[in-house]
């Protein structure tokens, strides 16, 4: 096993990876850009090196500096986390060239699965259904008739060369098609310098289901069951759970086999995730893409399996065999993850910045928090708005949801706006608790995007707000960390001690 590993990342995932590595007896090397100098992922590291520059490109994306830190620190391996360079075949190759083990898939399999056309070819090779799509059309006016005759409307026009919603048009009927092709192609040309588009069948209310894969370098591949990730906002996942409420044992077996077949066909090594769209009514599923890295939502899988996926990533990268058979993968209970973002759900999920004046995560049975921040931390606009991930495990779905509700309710955050109260509204919403939801959940429940209606609690809040404002001067003198300890008075109260 490695004795020293560089974590080329920041935030909660850099903390979480180091926790596992340090528990394996591996020394960790952190890197940081200026605003992160006193971030938790740095303070917990065994060694830390600054990255110089104002942008991510100069710092966490700077391959040259990262390799220099690895060399200087004596690291033998690099864990890229997620985001940043985690899916860069060039970085993986540069690590190898520098004699460093890249804790992740091979550059070749990363490349094969990162390319839209090639990954669909691999899926076809593996016999895995993909969302039906046309061949690449050569720009404006191309003849799309064959595809339309076979699949009908609605359909999507999509850019061949890129993603993120650019060059994408939803087409409801034949009269919109010509204009959509023209407009999508123009946008794709502007965005990616490549105007080629293709047509794809549009699934109206799919569920987003993914399967966690583990593959060692010796051809043994297993899946670690599914994660349900249909609760999304702005095409980003917000809440994940496992098992999926939509899954039957037979469907789970079929989708799991498809994920494993795909990984085998791509010669995939290490941890990865096969993403699918599922039509819950027909139980038809379609391959979407492979995320060739650790995923944000991996803790829900760890919670129901009692496994440590990051430990397996390190072991596989160090050449160890994956000594778990598929039939030994047995889950216990149910787990749900909520992503805590510094953002305001009631203003279009606009991010929020400021100092965390209070950050008191709930603790207790069945709870896990993976956090990149601490009380006193300054949330800046430089990086992702993901502050932490709260995971609740329970013996069944109802218990884990109830635990999550309680944990979100007992999680005071002050100093900036987060989505914690919003998340509680979602996990207690009947559309979610019944389990019958899909990726259109927030579109179908626009009430959730409005601030809650006036309630009795609002009057208490107004009263307390008035009380706190009236007391402000005297309160300001009582900073908990500066006020002398008042031994004689273990508590202060303005209320009665008698029953009301």
């Amino acid at each position: 096993m490695f004795s020293r590993v560089l974590i080329a990342n920041r935030g909660e995932i850099a903390v979480r990876i180091q926790q596992t590595l340090q528990a394996m007896g591996i020394a960790t090397v952190a890197v940081y850009a200026d605003p992160d100098i006193s971030a938790p992922h740095v303070a917990m590291a065994n060694a830390a090196y600054p990255l110089h520059g104002d942008s991510a490109k100069d710092t966490y994306l700077n391959v040259g500096e990262l390799l220099e830190v690895a060399r200087e620190s004596g690291a033998e391996a690099v864990h890229p986390g997620y985001g940043f360079l985690s899916e860069s075949p060039a970085f993986a190759r540069a690590c190898a060239a520098a004699g460093l083990v890249f804790i992740g898939p091979t550059p070749d399999s990363m490349e094969a699965l990162g390319d839209k056309v090639r990954s669909k070819e691999i899926a076809a090779l593996a016999g895995v259904p993909t969302v039906p799509s046309s061949a690449v059309l050569d720009g404006v006016g191309a003849d799309a008739q064959g595809f339309v005759e076979q699949w009908g409307f609605p359909l999507l026009v999509k850019a061949a060369a890129g993603g993120g919603g650019r060059g994408m048009r939803l087409v409801d009927g034949p009269d919109q098609l010509a204009q959509a092709l023209e407009s999508a192609s123009r946008e794709a040309q502007a965005a990616f310098g490549d105007g080629r588009v293709f047509l794809e069948r549009y699934l109206q209310h799919p569920r987003h289901i993914e399967f966690q894969i583990l593959a060692d370098g010796r051809g043994h591949v297993i899946h670690l069951l599914e994660r349900e990730c249909s609760i999304q906002r702005r095409h980003q996942k917000l809440i994940e759970e496992t098992p999926s409420p939509a899954m039957s044992p037979d469907l789970r077996r079929r989708m799991g086999e498809a994920a494993v077949a795909l990984a085998k066909a791509a010669g995939y090594v290490n941890a990865g995730t096969a993403e699918f769209l599922l039509d819950p009514d027909t139980e038809e599923f379609y391959f979407l893409e492979v995320n060739a890295r650790l995923q944000v939502e991996h803790p829900v899988t760890e919670a129901i399996l009692g496994m440590d996926i990051v430990a397996w990533q390190a072991r596989i990268a160090a050449g160890e065999a994956l000594d778990i058979a598929q039939e030994d993968v047995r889950s216990l209970g149910h787990a749900i993850e909520c992503r805590i973002y510094a953002e305001d759900p009631y203003s279009g999920f606009l991010p929020s910045t400021g100092r965390l004046l209070r950050w008191r995560p709930p603790t207790g049975p069945g709870l896990r928090l993976d956090s990149g921040v601490d009380e006193g931390y300054d949330v800046s606009s430089h990086y992702d708005a993901l502050l932490a991930k709260l995971v609740a495990w329970g013996p069944d779905r109802e218990a884990s949801l109830k635990r999550m509700e309680g944990a979100l309710r007992r999680f005071p955050v002050l100093g900036l706006v987060t989505n914690v109260p919003f998340l509680r509204r979602v996990v207690t919403h009947s559309g979610f608790t019944t389990g019958a939801y899909n990726t259109a959940f927030l579109d179908d429940n626009p009430d959730l995007l409005q601030a809650p209606q006036i309630t009795e609690k609002d009057e208490v809040a107004r009263s307390l707000g008035a009380w706190a404002t009236a007391n402000r001067t005297s309160t300001a003198a009582r900073s908990p960390s500066l006020a002398p300890v008042d031994d004689g008075s273990p508590w202060r109260q303005a209320g009665p001690r008698r029953l009301p």
């Binding site: 979100l408 009263s463 707000g465 008035a466 007391n471 300001a476 009301p500």
Partner: protein, 170 residues
């Protein structure tokens, strides 16, 4: 305690209200325009504790000041109050006046979608702002004309920074 006014700002902005606070038999009495609320309040370390409205459930709370804004966490929900005075001062501030476009968060200007002299409609996208690795559309409050564009693409901007000056009315 002299009569003062504060104004709910989050999650739902609301009208300013007057209050008076007194204590009686160990209870906190808050006199609002709408009536008097009696609260038991138990405060621990000076900025957190629990309260109980007469006849109601116990509710934990914590609060902190962000400048003159009061951030109040109450039983899982966040409320922000502003002094009513400050609020009205802000109203006449150039950056928030009329239909001008200000930056709600610090960030970088990804794209300026209008030019001086352009007429825009309500809800038309005017600026694309990048913050926390996401793009955010800043839209016009109403129909009007672009009078001045104060930023260019790639520029860093602060929270509340004025980006586009507008003359409203179509």
């Amino acid at each position: 305690m002299s009569q003062r006014r504060i104004q709910p700002h989050y999650p739902t902005p609301g009208p300013a209200f007057s209050y008076e606070v007194s204590e009686e038999n160990g209870q906190v009495l808050v006199h609002l325009d709408s009536g008097t609320v009696a609260l038991d309040v138990a405060q621990g370390d000076g900025s957190a504790g629990w309260c109980r409205p007469a006849g109601g459930l116990l509710l934990p709370f914590a609060y902190a000041w962000v400048g003159n804004d009061l951030h109040l966490w109450l039983d899982g929900d966040l409320f922000i109050f502003q002094p009513a005075e400050q609020r009205s001062r802000r109203r006449v501030d150039a950056s928030a006046a009329g239909g001008n476009i200000a930056s709600p968060v610090p960030g970088k200007i990804s794209k300026v979608l209008v030019q001086v002299g352009d007429t825009v409609e309500a809800d038309q996208a005017v600026i694309i702002l990048e913050s926390m690795k996401m793009e955010h559309l800043l839209k016009a409050n109403g129909a009007g004309t672009v009078v001045r564009v104060l930023v260019e693409e790639g520029q860093q901007v602060d929270r509340s920074g004025l980006l586009v000056e507008m003359s409203m009315g179509s």
